[in-house]
């Protein structure tokens, strides 16, 4: 080949091509996040709104939600009683705002506790074959009972309290998390980086801690948000049929249960807690969907 430095006839430039798509808009960090993950942004914003509402309930122009006032029973919504009053004269607005506390506590507590327990069981049975067979059959057994029936049975055997509602819902949810985690663990165990760690002499507890656990957190977090939403619905259902939160504590299920009798004449007593419950559950589910798309693209395609 000749040692050309410059071609005798000079350089010929390729023709310039126009872009066929408009360039990407410049966005700030927050703008970029909203653009990338709109569902997380919307869901997260709404969930935080409800959390703030629950925490600062006393400051949000509420009155004592349990204060009885027989003189002003079943008033329709007005400037004084935004959501009206119920059959005992209690302010429905205050009750709904305070009721958010119960829903969110039950939802978050159930999600976090069942995720932690389920994660532990799932990790152990995913790694120890002998335990696996026994534990998973127990989990299958628990899963074969409809969760709401299991909760009703639990509540019938114990005193009605928020703690017991949470325990009942956790028992129903743990097998689902455990199954999920076990499945993830079994796939992760076959991953080359886990095999490389075994070959590098890493001990099993360390493999679980460093290689398996961090990679199960994403799917468990996603699952936990869905459990949170379903726990809120279950709590409301249990309270509605009188097998959940004690009637003395305002919870959305209780408010609806009490308003049930007057549904045809005073629909607003049921309407407001119902709409709050729906919007909260929707927000949590939106957040969960967004997290799933962001954290686990494979799962998003499968479902």
């Amino acid at each position: 080949m000749s040692t050309t430095t410059l071609p005798p006839d000079g350089f010929n430039a390729a023709p310039k091509l126009a872009d066929v798509l408009p360039p990407r808009k410049e966005r700030g960090r927050i703008g970029m996040f909203i653009y990338r993950h709109p569902t997380i942004a919307v869901g997260g914003f709404m969930v935080s709104l409800f959390v703030l509402m629950a925490i600062f309930a006393p400051l949000l122009w509420t009155v004592d939600p349990t204060a009885l006032a027989p003189a002003r029973r079943t008033r329709p919504p007005s400037a004084q009683w935004w959501f009206g009053t119920d059959m005992l004269g209690r302010d429905v607005y205050s009750r709904v705002v305070y009721g958010a506390r119960i829903s969110l506590i039950v939802g978050f507590a159930t999600a976090i506790i069942s995720a932690v327990i389920g994660l532990t069981i799932g990790l152990i049975s995913g790694f120890i074959r002998a335990v696996d067979a026994v534990v998973m059959r127990v989990m299958d057994g628990l899963m074969s009972i409809p969760s709401i029936l299991l909760a009703i049975a639990m509540m019938a055997l114990t005193r009605a309290s928020v703690e017991n509602v949470i325990i009942a819902l956790v028992i129903a949810d743990v097998p689902r998390v455990a199954r999920l985690v076990r499945g993830v663990v079994l796939t992760l165990r076959e991953q080359p980086y886990v095999e490389a760690a075994v070959a590098a002499g890493t001990r099993t507890p360390m493999i679980i801690w460093k290689h398996i656990l961090p990679n199960t957190l994403a799917p468990v977090t996603v699952q936990a948000t869905f459990f949170c939403a379903s726990a809120m619905i279950s709590e409301a259902t249990l309270s509605f049929i009188g097998a959940g939160t004690p009637p003395i504590i305002p919870s959305w299920g209780n408010i609806m249960a009490e308003g049930r009798a007057l549904w045809q004449v005073k629909p607003y007593i049921v309407f407001f807690p119902a709409i709050f419950l729906s919007i909260t559950v929707l927000s949590v589910n939106l957040l969960g969907d967004g997290l799933r798309d962001a954290l686990d693209p494979r799962m998003a395609k499968r479902i």
Partner: protein, 334 residues
């Protein structure tokens, strides 16, 4: 080059994708043609735009987020101006495609016969019975034993090589004039690859379709193709007859590619182990517009001129096009 107009003539093809992170310029100004009955190889490494080019020809790119610009003339008609129904009548009939992964490109719940038959029922209006007969003929053509039985089997009952034969049978069922084969043997073992390549060569002489063969394997190109297009970073960097490209590569990227490919039989010429030629560095990002020559960041002969000015594609030797400022010009072409 033949004087008659080519079967497929691609002019200044640009395929861009709008993504969250910006515009990806997957194909940027590619032009080439395929004559009737010839086999054109398109080679390059992953991300060079060779598969996107193939998908663009068949308009299998989702628009948006993608966008195809330029001209794709098939027998004089610009495919990019056709309506979707008109395009559907061309896909599978005049132009058909074979994909790399035979398992995922066959429908697992339909019998092999149904899948081959569907194309001919659609394009040629055959009855179900005639379609099955055609499917059996096609399976016989691609060398599948006991075709009358196989026609009723499902894809999972076939081995990888068999599935690729079925894919070829499907692609050829309507006697297309152009077959676009995207890495047709990459997922196969070498002895099965040899079977499939032999089959494709054999069918080509019998069916007479032109083949656009996309591959990263230079060995496959050398055995199958008459002409070669070398792509890099969404651009065509070199084009020529297979002999010219292999024996006299002019673009530094093509030279690097040839040198980095180990050749069977190397132990017979050398006593010790020899070094392979490396191409230093990595492929540039397609998310930013590339100023100057796309290969400048990795080229051993790079100069300031290369970094500032993209080289035009020029005919440096007869029927041998190169996009490099420093590619020597053969006396005859100058």
């Amino acid at each position: 080059m033949s004087s008659s107009s080519p079967l497929l003539d691609i002019q200044n093809l640009q395929t861009h994708f709008g993504t969250i992170d910006g515009v990806v310029r997957a194909v940027e100004g590619v032009s080439f043609h395929i004559n009737a009955g010839e086999t054109l190889g398109v080679v390059g490494e992953s991300g060079c735009g060779k598969s996107v080019t193939a998908m663009s020809i068949l308009r299998l790119i989702q628009q948006p987020p993608g966008r195809i610009a330029g001209k794709i003339l098939f027998k004089g008609t610009n495919l990019l101006e056709l309506s979707e129904p008109e395009m559907q009548s061309i896909r599978g009939k005049d132009i058909s495609m074979i994909f790399q992964e035979p398992m995922t490109s066959l429908n697992p719940v339909l019998t092999v016969g149904r899948q081959i038959g569907e194309t001919v029922m659609l394009h040629e209006g055959l009855s179900a019975k005639d379609a099955e007969q055609r499917a059996i003929e096609m399976l016989t053509l691609v060398g599948i034993p006991a075709p009358a039985r196989r026609v009723r089997e499902y894809p999972h009952q076939l081995s990888g090589g068999m599935r690729q034969r079925v894919m070829i049978a499907m692609a050829l069922a309507c006697s297309p004039q152009l077959l676009v084969a995207d890495e047709p043997t990459t997922a196969l073992d070498v002895t099965i690859q040899a079977q499939i390549l032999e089959l494709m060569r054999d069918l080509k002489t019998r069916v007479g379709a032109a083949i656009m063969l996309i591959t990263h394997d230079l060995g496959v190109v050398a055995e199958m193709c008459q002409r070669v297009v070398v792509m890099y970073a969404g651009r065509k960097v070199e084009e020529g007859s297979v002999e010219e490209i292999f024996l006299n590569p002019l673009h530094p990227y093509t030279q690097g590619l040839m040198g980095s490919m180990p050749k069977l039989g190397s132990s017979l010429h050398e006593s010790g182990r020899s070094k392979l030629t490396e191409i230093q560095g990595v492929v540039p990002s397609l998310r930013k517009p590339i100023i100057g020559c796309a290969f400048a960041s990795r080229c051993p002969k790079v100069t300031d001129a290369c970094r500032q000015m993209a080289p035009a594609i020029e005919e440096k030797a007869p029927n041998h096009l190169v996009a490099c400022h420093y590619a020597p010009r053969a006396a005859a072409a100058a």
